[in-house]
C-alpha cells in the first residue's frame, strides 16, 4: 500500500494553524463561524490526503452564504476566508473581489452580461464576495436586470467550481427571501453560515481591540462606562453590533479631543492624548433620558 499520511504534519506545513489561530485571536466571539471554518479546513485537508493516496475525490463545493445582523463581521471573515482557502490550495490566487449590485447589474439592456462577466473574470482564481446579495433580485420589477446577473453567476458557480468561490452576504431575513425566490442559489451553496450577535462582554473586548489599533486605550472608569453604554445601546433602535461600537468610539475620540482642547493650561502628555476617559463615553446621547429617542 502507498502508506499513511500524517494529517497533523500536513496541517502544520500548510501554514493553516497559524491562520486559524490568528483568526481566533483577531475575531472575538463568532464561535459557530469559527467551528465551520475549521470543518471546511479539515475537509479540504482530508480531501488532499485522499488525493495523495489515490482515493476518489470530488472537488468540494465551497460557495458560501454569510447571514447575520449588521456589524457581525461578515465582511471581515470573508476577507480571511480568501486567505484560508488560498493556504489550503483551494483557490489559486487568494485575492478577494468585493462587489455589490452596482458592480454586477447594468443600466440598460445588454449592459449587465458584460459587466457581470468582467467582474467574474477579475475574481477568477480567488473569492468573489457579493455584499447585500439580496439586492440582486428585485421581485417588484419583472424587467429588472438583476435576474440576468443571477443567471450568469449561477452558470459560472456550477461550471467553474475549481476556479472561483462565491460568498454571498446579507441580513438573515432578506437573504431568506432571496433564496426562496432563487432556489438555484440555495442548492449551489454548500455552506450557510449564520453570524450570531455579539454579547456585551464581546463588544467591550472588540472596542478594546479597535482602540488598540488606533493607538488609544480606555481608562478603568471608561471600561465600566463602555459596558453600560453597550447594554443601553443594544435596546435602542438601529443597533449594529460592532459597527455601532466603532461609531461610538469615533464619537468618544471627538469628545476626548474637545475635552483636551478646552483645558485651561493647554498642556497635554502622550498618556492623556491616548486615554479615553469615562466622561468621554458618558456624554453620549445613549445615557440621556430613556424617554428621549436617540439616533
Amino acid at each position: 500500500m502507498s502508506g499513511a499520511i500524517d494529517l497533523k504534519r500536513d496541517f502544520a506545513s500548510s501554514g493553516l494553524d497559524a491562520e486559524l489561530a490568528q483568526l481566533d485571536r483577531d475575531l472575538v466571539g463568532l464561535a459557530p463561524v469559527k467551528r465551520r471554518i475549521r470543518e471546511i479546513a479539515a475537509l479540504l485537508l482530508v480531501d488532499r490526503a485522499r488525493q495523495t493516496l489515490g482515493l476518489a475525490t470530488e472537488p468540494p463545493t465551497l460557495h458560501m452564504s454569510f447571514t447575520g445582523n449588521p456589524g457581525t463581521g461578515k465582511t471581515t471573515v470573508a476577507l480571511r476566508m480568501a486567505g484560508i482557502l488560498h493556504k489550503l490550495g483551494y483557490v489559486r490566487r487568494g485575492h478577494l473581489v468585493s462587489v455589490t449590485r452596482d458592480d454586477l447589474v447594468g443600466q440598460y439592456i445588454g449592459h449587465t452580461a458584460p459587466k457581470t462577466r468582467d467582474v467574474l473574470k477579475k475574481a477568477m482564481g480567488g473569492v468573489l464576495f457579493i455584499d447585500e446579495a439580496y439586492y440582486l433580485y428585485r421581485p417588484e420589477n419583472e424587467r429588472d436586470y438583476g435576474q440576468e446577473a443571477i443567471e450568469i453567476l449561477l452558470q459560472i458557480m456550477e461550471n467553474q467550481r475549481d476556479d472561483l468561490v462565491v460568498i454571498l452576504a446579507g441580513y438573515a431575513d432578506r437573504m431568506d427571501t432571496f433564496f426562496s425566490s432563487n432556489p438555484g442559489f440555495r442548492s449551489r451553496i454548500a455552506h450557510h453560515i449564520d453570524f450570531p450577535d455579539y454579547d456585551d462582554g464581546e463588544l467591550v473586548t472588540i472596542a478594546g481591540t479597535l482602540l488598540g489599533q488606533m493607538g488609544y486605550r480606555l481608562s478603568t472608569g471608561a471600561q465600566v462606562a463602555l459596558g453600560d453604554y453597550v447594554a443601553r445601546r443594544r435596546s435602542q433602535p438601529h443597533f449594529a453590533n460592532a459597527r455601532s461600537i466603532r461609531n461610538a468610539l469615533d464619537r468618544a475620540r471627538l469628545r476626548q479631543a474637545v475635552r483636551l482642547f478646552d483645558r485651561d493650561d493647554g498642556v497635554v502628555t502622550a498618556d492623556q492624548l491616548s486615554t479615553i476617559e469615562a466622561e468621554d463615553i458618558r456624554a453620549s446621547r445613549v445615557f440621556a433620558d430613556p424617554a428621549e429617542p436617540s439616533a
Binding site: R93, P114, R117, L120, K121, K122, M124, G125, G126, I156
Partner: protein, 141 residues
C-alpha cells in the same frame, strides 16, 4: 497552407492547458493579455480586431480563458484568434508575446501574382485566396 506567426509558430497549435500556462506566465509578469481575431490571413495584416479590452486587471488565467471561450463561441471556425501580451513598463511599452490559439479548419493559402512592368521588371504580390470573398464570408463554407 497553415498560417504561422508569433512566439510558438514552429510548434503545433497549443492545447488549452498550454494556453493557460502561457497566459499565467504573462499575468505573473504584469503584462496585459489581449484577445484578437481576424479573417484576413495576410502577414501584413498587423492590427486585428480586439475582443473586449486588454485584460490588465485579471490576476488569474481562468479569467482570460473565460473571455477566450466567449470569443471562440462567436468567432471560432470563421476567424483566426490570437492572444498577445502587452508589457506597459517603461522601456518596453510593446508586445512581449503573441500566439495563435484558433484557426479556421480550411486554410486555402496564398496566390502569388506577378505584375510585368517596364524593362522586364516584375512586381510580386501575395493575395490570400480567402480574402477574395467579402469580410465575414471568408471561412464560412
Amino acid at each position: 497552407m497553415r498560417i504561422t506567426q508569433g512566439t510558438f509558430s514552429f510548434l503545433p497549435d497549443l492545447t488549452d492547458e498550454q494556453i493557460i500556462a502561457q497566459v499565467q506566465y504573462c499575468l505573473d509578469h504584469g503584462w496585459a493579455v489581449n484577445i484578437e481575431y481576424t479573417d484576413d490571413p495576410h502577414p501584413r495584416n498587423t492590427y486585428w480586431e480586439m475582443w473586449g479590452i486588454p485584460m490588465f486587471d485579471v490576476p488569474d488565467a481562468a479569467g482570460v480563458m473565460l473571455a477566450l471561450a466567449e470569443c471562440r463561441k462567436a468567432h471560432a471556425g470563421s476567424n483566426y484568434i490570437r492572444m498577445s501580451a502587452f508589457d506597459s513598463s517603461y522601456g518596453w511599452e510593446s508586445l512581449r508575446l503573441s500566439f495563435i490559439t484558433d484557426r479556421p479548419a480550411n486554410e486555402p493559402g496564398f496566390a502569388l501574382e506577378r505584375q510585368e512592368r517596364n524593362g522586364r521588371q516584375i512586381a510580386y504580390t501575395t493575395r490570400a485566396y480567402s480574402a477574395m470573398k467579402p469580410e465575414g464570408e471568408r471561412y464560412s463554407g
